[in-house]
Symmetry: C2
Subunit: 343 residues, 2 copies
């Protein structure tokens, strides 16, 4: 079923059919009606591939996600997908299991004429530049490069980390352990910097730091290692993301046989769904995923509409969600729900 078939059946020219299917094109009501009728009878659907070939735009955007096992990303992906499809864009999904294959994505970007990319993976500055050089706008989700003119939407990790540090120091914790993410993770670097920096400002003893990989198991292991390193004085563990914090909670309660937050307070980052589950009620810094994905989509769409638009780096504050894994300011377990939790 091509536009020629429809044109023939409707007794109009092929270009007429094309125009009828192009929103905002000139076609008389009469023609429109006949074409639509014919198209309907024939079950005609415009061929998006052919359209892309002529127009140079595919109506597809690439979404690059590094790791769907970190439960923060399914939430992001889900939102992005819904928003893009609401805007008439298809989502081509790229999951970067092993950091490899970025250049193959580059090939696809030009090959499939992707209209844009939102990346929530750990791309290098050079890789991002490659996309840009190919004329493909990029919005970086939760990372950004000073020297690369790509737009980005970031949660303010430093600020969030400082919030957390402040709150925990004020609650009187003395001996901290910190579980960072992979060392090449921008997010981890920011959160680490913010947390340790603020702690230092407040005159708290420097925490023991171990690195994890953002997974539950690594948080579990890290908590045990911290306990070993820091000894019984350890009274607070902060993890660079919720997944690890959940693992840490379980390790402390289980393997270590200590209470949370009675003996050791624990906090994370992200505000993933499982962190709210009753078994955890994890204190965390929540990223406003909805606002962030919305911003990401808007920014990308804007750049697609006007490629000359200068890159924009938007930063959104995270919200401290004080729940049940951190002692209260009076030394007692914190209130069940922080005010921020209502959102």
């Amino acid at each position: 079923m091509t536009s020629y078939d429809v044109a023939h059946r409707a007794g109009v020219s092929q270009s007429g059919v094309s125009r009828v299917f192009k929103p905002g094109a000139s076609a008389s009501a009469a023609m429109r009606a006949r074409v639509l009728a014919a198209a309907d009878e024939l079950g005609y659907r415009p061929n998006a591939i052919a359209r892309s070939l002529t127009t140079g735009r595919s109506n597809m955007v690439g979404v690059i996600i590094s790791d769907l096992t970190n439960l923060y990303y399914p939430e992001v992906l889900s939102e992005l997908s819904a928003r893009f499809s609401g805007r008439g864009k298809r989502v081509l999904l790229f999951t970067l299991a092993r950091e490899a294959g970025v250049d193959s994505i580059l090939g696809d970007v030009v090959g499939y004429q992707l209209d844009g990319i939102v990346s929530a993976a750990r791309l290098s500055a050079g890789q991002v530049s490659d996309f840009l050089d190919r004329g493909c706008p990029v919005v970086l989700y939760n990372r950004s490069f000073d020297d690369v003119p790509a737009s980005s939407i970031c949660c303010d990790h430093v600020h969030g980390a400082r919030l957390l540090a402040t709150r925990m120091a004020e609650a009187g914790h003395h001996r901290f352990g910190f579980v960072s993410g992979p060392t090449d993770s921008f997010v981890s670097q920011e959160r680490t910097r913010g947390f340790l920096g603020r702690l230092a400002e407040m005159g708290v003893a420097e925490p023991a730091v171990v690195a994890g990989d953002y997974g539950y198991a690594s948080g579990h292991a890290a908590a045990r290692e911290l306990a070993r390193e820091a000894g019984p004085a350890l009274d607070a563990i902060v993890c660079a993301n919720d997944m690890m914090a959940l693992g840490a909670v379980d390790a402390v309660r289980g393997s270590l046989g200590r209470r949370v937050p009675g003996d050791i307070s624990i906090a994370g980052f992200d505000g993933i769904d499982p962190a709210r589950w009753d078994s955890y009620r994890l204190t965390t810094v929540r990223q406003p995923v909805r606002r962030m994905t919305q911003a990401a989509v808007e920014m990308l769409l804007d750049h697609m509409a006007d490629p000359s638009r200068p890159p924009e780096r938007r930063m959104i504050p995270g919200e401290l969600a004080v729940r049940a894994t951190v002692r209260g300011l009076d030394g007692a377990p914190a209130a069940e729900l922080g005010a921020a939790d209502a959102a």
Copy 2:
């Protein structure tokens, strides 16, 4: 950068360039070398859109997922994505938030010449037929229709449910509650049928049944409702998926103040990652996601290679993973890890 540019630079014909980039086409080593060199210098990438237009195949497959908040699906999606990209296929992602929009996907299927579809969403028989009628092979993930000639890969929900029923009845539970999924869910129907059927066979009193929506919160609510309905005799709750079972565990331990499995045993279905976390150690029937996704991909690729191939319905047994939320056969809490858990 088009193949003409490369051809010109390499001093060969455009068709030559095309052949060099088509795997398994005839081109002398000399030509290949010169073309590749020229292409490299020019940063040429074949235009997949144009290729799709002529060949009629896009090298894209659609993956339809209903709900990424059910943590079973991110696992599936992650696997599918990795496997498809390993096979040189791009994944066009469709998330079906509200069951609507299936027909828009249909449009995309024909518009983007999708080579195939794997659907893990609740499509109707008619919708699946529509895809098939358009010449787009479909593999149904965890559902199938008797009267629609689509291939499918299913976990044997009935069998798995029977395993669970047997094990729990043998452990001496008397008063069961069952939390089903949405009534229009094939998976839920199968699991419900298997579970209730086996219980009846074993002469166990008919369980109280309430319906959930596969989410944590609904499992939480359902457990409380079951406790209200069934009274203090209630000693086992089985949920149609892990997410709800996790909610149920928390409800029983928290709101109801009973022990799991001391007072009430709880089990789920799927074998999602969080079900293994120390706070839960949920007894469940694990779906072999890796084998299932592998089968799904293979089947779809086979159909794409040979469209005349008859549909195939493959069924893979689930594995009972006895963990810590169900009483042991001696009435004591079950062994920490079932043998199946080693996998």
